[in-house]
């Protein structure tokens, strides 16, 4: 477990900036995740106190939204679209290809925490399905070959 106290200055800086904005919980969580890579559990009591909420309320919001992570992210994040448009263009096969090639477990993670494959529902790229985001960058019109190529480049640390 990483030392979560490391993230306290970041958390407090964000809270000081945002706590008086109406309805600021989501912006706060986004900012913490952006800065720390995830929402450390140590953030929960801090947020609760600053926003005058119970810890359960804060926890409830974090768990409701698919975007928020409570553990540190893998080095590379692949977000493959599995909504209807991409399915109709074979995104299911691409998922299988990635799982096999990267030896991912049921939840899409590689054993060495290098890669995590996540499912998303629509990236707004449906006119050129199938689509996937690799480390925040969108790619569309994917084919098995193109996917292989992109993933290789990503793992070799080139811009992807």
């Amino acid at each position: 477990m990483p030392d979560e106290a490391l993230h306290l200055p970041l958390i407090n800086r964000i809270l000081a900036l945002e706590k008086d904005t109406p309805g600021s919980l989501l912006p706060i969580l986004h900012a913490i995740q952006q800065g720390a890579g995830y929402i450390p559990s140590i953030a929960v009591p801090e947020i609760a106190q600053a926003l005058n909420l119970s810890k359960a309320e804060v926890q409830g919001v974090i768990s409701f939204y698919h975007d928020f992570r409570t553990t540190p992210p893998a080095q590379h994040i692949l977000r493959l679209c599995q909504a209807e448009s991409c399915q109709s263009m074979g995104s299911g096969l691409l998922a299988a290809q990635l799982k096999e090639r990267l030896s991912l477990n049921e939840s899409g993670d590689s054993a060495d925490a290098r890669v995590s494959l996540q499912t998303v529902y629509c990236l707004g790229a449906c006119a050129c399905s199938p689509a996937m985001e690799i480390d925040g960058r969108l790619h569309a019109r994917l084919t098995p070959e193109r996917l292989d190529d992109l993933v290789n480049r990503c793992l070799e640390g080139q811009a992807c």
Binding site: G23, L26, A83, Q87, V120, Y121, G124, C126, C128, H139
Partner: protein, 519 residues
């Protein structure tokens, strides 16, 4: 000097627009060729992206889809003053797909630079706001009512009625909320406008704010659209600097400002009351109605919630008149609709047309049939909660009432095309699984019934005896009923559409004879 245009739209970039732009600049430098390269919005002719446009005396010439490998030969042709090239498309405005459209909202698409206020103003930008500021708010509301504009987010409720309700409400503070959660598969029109023409949304929201007496607006954008979020934030700052937002809008002494808020990957937050909860910093659970958001919305105050396309229709209506707008369309579906062609389709892209063209015209005419070349099987219209429509019904006009007449809905205008290889039993299963994953958890049929539904579909597909299949099919029909009538919102309520339409029209995919499934 050569003047070139390449989109900065996120989907154009996802298929290589940045690389082509870089290659063009580098190659021109090597050749000592002076060149101006502008990054514009996208025309929405996505099968041609990355599309390069070149200024000429007769208008812009198009080339696409362009790859980096095309760059040297393209520059050869262009410097020789020739348009002969394997990627040449001729005059962009003459491309049939585009020429036959009626672009009111997307009038600037592919032409202007998203963050250039000068470009926006040079192409009729802020004309609607100028007009509105001279009018009494009640007259602006009357114009929206007269235009026949209906909400483009899905429910198609007359916009003007909502405006009147919010305007007539008495409160210290009212809000305009733009629903930019665009979660439906097959849709990207909101994204295109936010990335490509952000000032149009700002203009629409400002007109709405002044008309109903709201001084604060929020745009709730899904987190899957990082480019839209960036562009909007930059555009807001530019608009503030230029006096289009702030305490004194265009010297009218009226205040209005807008803040962008980012969603967090929950489909249900597209539902307006869940969206309001989310904006308040809570879990995105659906609120019962009444109270209507128009009376008790964000933080309990009167709130006008509209989709991006509804709000961006308003500047056109105000600039050109309600009559001009309502002259497009048919029946009670007036104006134009940006249809979005997606999935297994040859020519995917944006088609803005008056309501009333047929699904066939859209899918076969514009779309050119399937991308795979295999026979067309069905199209899902209106997102994940929309029905799968078989080709036998493709002559239905795209109009809210006509689609309702065949047990379908237009929703946000997305059309996902499928060829014969897509298994409809799997799609029914997926619809139920999606409902289970995205349910806000308030209603039992939606939260639990959906998971049971996944199991029923699996058992149905696996059964070998006709009697067992019959039993499972009956269970599935019953479940559809329960979902439809026992849900607080359309996520549970309309998940029955893709499921029952799949079962009804494609029983063979469930291993059933045609007669077994028809009820």
């Amino acid at each position: 000097m050569l003047k070139l245009f390449i989109p900065c739209d996120s989907l154009a970039r996802a298929v290589g627009a940045d690389e082509v732009a870089t290659a063009l600049t580098r190659e021109a430098q090597l050749r000592g060729l002076p060149l101006e390269l502008q990054r514009t919005s996208s025309r929405g002719l996505y099968w041609l992206e990355p599309m390069l446009e070149v200024e000429s005396a007769n208008g812009r010439l198009g080339f696409g889809p362009v790859t980096c490998a095309d760059v040297p030969s393209l520059l050869d042709a262009l410097t020789a003053g020739s348009n002969e090239h394997p990627r040449a498309l001729g005059l962009v405005e003459d491309i049939a797909y585009l020429k036959s459209q009626q672009r009111l909202l997307f009038a600037r698409a592919g032409i202007t630079r998203p963050l250039s206020l000068d470009d926006y103003l040079a192409h009729a930008g802020f004309k609607g706001l100028e007009q509105s500021i001279k009018m009494d708010g009640a007259d602006v509301v009357a114009a929206v009512l007269d235009s026949g504009l209906r909400g483009r987010g899905g429910a198609a409720f007359p916009a003007g009625i909502k405006w009147r309700t919010v305007r007539d409400a008495q409160a210290v503070q009212k809000y305009i909320v733009c629903n930019a959660d665009e979660g439906d598969s097959g849709t990207f029109a909101d994204r295109m406008l936010m990335e490509g023409d952000p000032f149009l949304l700002i203009e629409g929201m400002t007109i709405a704010g002044l008309a109903v007496g709201a001084s604060k607006g929020y745009i709730y954008v899904r987190s899957e659209y990082p480019d839209a979020i960036n562009t909007l934030n930059n555009a807001l700052e530019i608009a503030r600097q230029a006096g289009y937002l702030g305490t004194d809008i265009c010297a009218s002494a009226q205040p209005f400002d807008i803040e962008v808020r980012v969603g967090a990957g929950a489909y249900i937050c597209g539902e307006e009351t869940a969206l309001l909860e989310s904006l308040e910093g809570k879990r995105g659970t659906v609120r019962p109605k009444p109270p209507l958001p128009a009376l008790e919305g964000l933080f309990g105050l009167p709130t006008l919630v509209h989709n991006v396309l509804t709000l961006t229709s308003v500047p056109v209506i105000m600039a050109r008149g309600a009559q001009y707008y309502r002259d497009f369309g048919m029946g009670r579906s007036l104006g134009t609709m940006p249809f979005q062609l997606a999935g297994n389709v040859r020519y995917g892209g944006l088609v803005e047309r008056a309501f009333g063209l047929s699904l066939r015209e859209l899918i076969e005419g514009y779309g050119g049939g399937t991308a795979s070349g295999l026979p067309l099987k069905a199209a899902q219209v209106g997102g994940p909660l929309g029905a799968w429509i078989p080709p036998a019904h493709f002559d239905t006009p795209l109009d809210y009432e006509a689609l309702a007449g065949i047990g379908a809905m237009l929703g946000h205008g997305g059309v996902v095309v499928a060829d014969e290889s897509l298994n409809m039993a799997q799609m029914a299963r997926f619809a139920l699984q999606f409902c289970a994953e995205e349910s806000c958890g308030k209603c039992t049929p939606c939260r639990i019934g959906s998971t049971r539904g996944v199991e029923v579909v699996e058992r149905l597909i696996a059964s070998t005896a006709p009697a067992a299949r019959e039993e499972q099919a009956q269970l599935l029909w019953d479940l559809c009923d329960t979902l439809q009538y026992g849900s607080l919102c359309a996520l549970g309520g309309m998940t029955s559409y893709p499921v029952s339409s799949a079962l009804k029209h494609f029983p063979a995919d469930f291993g059933m004879a045609t007669t077994e499934a028809t009820q």
